[in-house]
């Protein structure tokens, strides 16, 4: 029965059911919807910022409002969009990929979901207060975030909201982690788990200690604002930065791993080859990359002159090996494959190339002498927008175009998807590519206004135009969503011929996920099944995956 023909009591019942449902698929859908809405809000904030920066002088917003905008744009995108998007993929897919009937700790997951939603709303509630929302950057660094310097209640709500939503995100990651480690189907050994599931294990391992550190830090900041002195003295601001970045660095990898895992799956499906170098991929993702990510946080603090520059430069550079292995394995999955250029696959390829720019610029800022110039300039803004937007968000769209049929039973339109991709590629590279240049010229971040004599006007104008093109791409995506859900093209259980277990059930899956599990012999069980069918003569030879 489609939503349009359900009666009012049925729709109300469905809504209530969605609110209190402990089904991981329902929780994940909720996370996706909330993340998308927050993305639109954060995007509007970005467009407002870009329209202000297009020319020297203040034309669109006041300085105070601009300061609130960049604080809330960053906070919204990180705390309320990309992290929940990453977790949503895990919450939906990990139980399916390991052949489980449910997520581990379904009630904990539901508590976590609502803590995230309510925490995010609390954080944004600052917009409704007299003094406006938080305006001490997404980091909330003391001393600026202390009561004496930023007394508005919006800042209080920001602190409380960030604490509560991070608590929720922590609970969600614990559920995903323990699903992968303890809820696998009997023959699903660790080394038969799908690459995406392993990327979620890496993600949630980091989350175990990263999220609680932020919750505690927000508690400390709250205490400091109501009493005093926790961040005073010569060590105070340093302690804040240490604690924040001990959360903050792993969290940016939380916002990367699930998407590189998704891209690995997409490559596998559309090249018709199981992931190349699986053991290396698992070793690089889990051991090296995730562990290193916990040990590099000081590179955000090189310019304090008070951290161990050499240690953090070393560990930050060691990531070259981990990331390089992942690239190698994904690229060689396409080698000798049989490649179909679907929208999902095109987004995945674009991710690989654009994220590379982000990654290489990351190696750049991992070097303290280079970071002494780049830190807090538009070079760093370019770097993290290349990794998080040009990278992770493009990977997210690859994941969406790939798994939307599984989640909804309907296909997304390929033509609109490719139009969205082209618009986003053009807009993204103009907007963020030019930021490398304007940063090298010395433009600092977090300024609403600059002078004509600075000479940054032309680049900023072009960047603003680019951001408009990105906006158009997102509009095309929204149109695609609406059209695809209203005029449904049924997907069936396995529209792409995917390698992993989620394709062995209906789209969307029933509440208990599987009626029967296929045999699990390797990390690409459905590819093995397809090969069996070719051997038995039930499918044509050229349909055999590798």
């Amino acid at each position: 029965m489609s939503a349009a023909t359900a009666t009012l009591p049925e729709r109300r019942g469905r809504l209530l059911g969605a609110v209190i449902s402990t089904d991981h698929k329902s929780i994940a859908r909720g996370l996706l919807v909330v993340a998308l809405l927050m993305f639109l809000g954060g995007g509007v904030m970005a467009l407002l910022m870009r329209s202000e920066l297009a020319q020297p002088g203040l034309q669109v917003v006041s300085t105070g409002t601009y300061n609130a905008l960049f604080t809330m744009h960053g906070s919204t995108m990180i705390y309320a969009v990309v992290i929940p998007l990453a977790l949503a993929l895990g919450v939906y897919l990990v139980p399916l990929q390991v052949g489980a009937a449910q997520i581990a700790g379904p009630r904990v997951a539901l508590i976590g979901f609502w803590l995230f939603v309510l925490g995010a709303l609390t954080m944004e509630a600052g917009w409704l207060t007299n003094g406006g929302p938080g305006r001490a950057t997404w980091i909330g660094v003391a001393p600026l975030s202390e009561f004496q310097r930023t007394p508005n209640s919006g800042q209080d709500l920001w602190i409380l909201g960030v604490g509560v939503l991070s608590l929720g995100q922590w609970l969600l990651s614990l559920c995903v982690l323990f699903t992968a480690l303890r809820k696998r189907a009997p023959r699903m050994t660790l080394l038969r788990m799908a690459p995406f599931t392993w990327s979620m294990v890496g993600t949630t391992l980091m989350g175990v200690f990263a999220f609680p550190v932020l919750v505690v830090l927000m508690g400390l900041l709250w205490y400091d604002r109501r009493n005093c002195c926790l961040f005073d003295g010569p060590q105070g601001p340093l302690n804040y930065q240490h604690l924040f970045w001990f959360y903050g660095h792993p969290v940016v990898y939380v916002m990367f791993f699930p998407f590189v895992g998704a891209v690995a799956e997409v490559f596998s499906a559309f090249c018709r080859r199981r992931l190349f170098g699986y053991e290396f991929f698992v070793g690089a993702t889990i051991l090296t990359f995730a562990g290193l990510s916990m040990s590099v946080w000081g590179h955000h603090m090189f310019t304090t002159g008070r951290v161990d520059d050499r240690y953090f430069a070393l560990t930050s550079h060691m990531i070259i090996a981990a990331a390089g292995v992942e690239y190698f394995d994904i690229a060689l999955t396409a080698w000798r494959g049989k490649i179909r250029f679907t929208t999902a696959f095109l987004f995945a390829v674009t991710f690989m190339l654009q994220f590379l720019v982000g990654g290489l610029s990351g190696v750049w800022v991992a070097s303290p002498p280079l970071d002494f110039q780049a830190h807090n300039s538009y070079i760093v803004i370019a770097h993290f927008h290349y990794t998080l937007f040009a990278g992770s968000l493009f990977g997210a769209f690859a994941a969406i175009y790939y798994w939307f049929p599984k989640w909804t039973g309907a296909m997304l339109r390929e033509g609109l998807g490719k139009l969205q991709l082209v618009l986003m590629i053009i807009g993204t590279n103009i907007t963020f590519g030019l930021m490398f240049a304007v940063g090298e010229e010395g433009m600092p971040r977090r300024i609403a206004n600059y002078l004509p004599s600075d000479g940054w006007g032309t680049l900023n104008l072009l960047e603003t135009i680019g951001s408009g093109v990105i906006g158009l791409g997102i509009v095309v995506f929204l149109i695609n969503l609406v059209v695809s859900l209203r005029r449904r093209v049924p997907a069936g259980p396995d529209p792409w011929g995917g390698p992993s277990l989620e394709w062995a059930t209906t789209s969307p899956p029933p509440e208990h996920n599987f009626d029967a599990l296929p045999p699990i012999r390797t990390y690409a069980p459905l590819f093995d099944l397809a090969r069996d069918e070719v051997k038995a003569g039930r499918r044509r030879p050229e349909e055999a995956p590798a």
Binding site: R149, V325, L356, S361, S367, L370
Partner: protein, 219 residues
């Protein structure tokens, strides 16, 4: 005496070359694979078997580690050279010592010595910071309220400064001229206005300027 700008330029060039080579290799590799193995080329082809290539992958990891070691080594060397600037400025008893005092939202500079020369922020204009060309200068930075950051983009160096703490660093300004300085850590409402101008004068002209300032301050 080396300076942060030349260190940055040489290190940065190497990093850029390595990054450029890596980028080109990856793009070419992907382009080749995607064109060569597209399904449309031969729909009846079966995808190649996934063989074990442990040796190739291990060799590749060794190459990656080699690149890492190379980059880390040149970074450490550059760091040591830049640390040397601070050491030279701190150890030399005759080097210029300037205190940097940041407050929301202005800069003040104090030239140590007898008597101390204070350059206060002028109305609505960036505070001027006069420095000699080519000599190591020891800066001691301190904030009166929140975190600020002292950044002179032209010499490729910045440092955070915060209250209850004196942060010391050495700098050399290699060429004469006027260079922009900005506060580079968001410090509240008028952060964007918190600028200073570095005015680098050739040695003797700077000495004359400083003596004149000292005479003015003594009166």
């Amino acid at each position: 005496m080396t300076n942060t700008r030349s260190q940055y330029d040489s290190l940065g060039t190497t990093y850029l070359i390595v990054a450029g080579i890596v980028f080109v290799i990856v793009v070419v590799a992907f382009a080749f694979v995607l064109i060569r193995y597209r399904a449309g080329r031969d729909p009846t082809r079966v995808p190649g078997e996934n063989e074990k290539h442990t040796l190739a992958e291990a060799a590749y990891v060794v190459v990656l580690i080699g690149v890492t070691v190379f980059l880390v080594t040149i970074t450490f060397k550059t760091l040591s050279r830049e640390d040397g600037i601070t050491r030279a400025a701190a150890n030399s008893p005759h080097s210029l010592r300037v205190r940097v005092i940041a407050a929301q939202w202005t800069w003040r500079f104090e030239y140590e010595g007898r008597p101390v020369v204070t350059v206060a922020p002028p109305q609505d204009k960036p505070t001027p910071l006069y420095v000699p060309v080519g000599r190591p200068i020891l800066f001691t930075g301190h904030s009166q309220d929140v975190l600020h950051q002292f950044w002179v983009p032209d010499v490729r160096f910045k440092r955070q400064i915060w209250p209850d703490h004196d942060e010391q660093w050495g700098m050399v300004f290699p060429s004469a001229g006027v260079f922009e300085g900005v506060c580079n850590w968001f410090c509240g409402l008028w952060h964007q206005n918190m600028r200073f101008d570095v005015i680098a004068l050739p040695g003797q002209r700077f000495d004359r300027w400083l003596s004149a300032q000292r005479r003015k301050a003594a009166r």
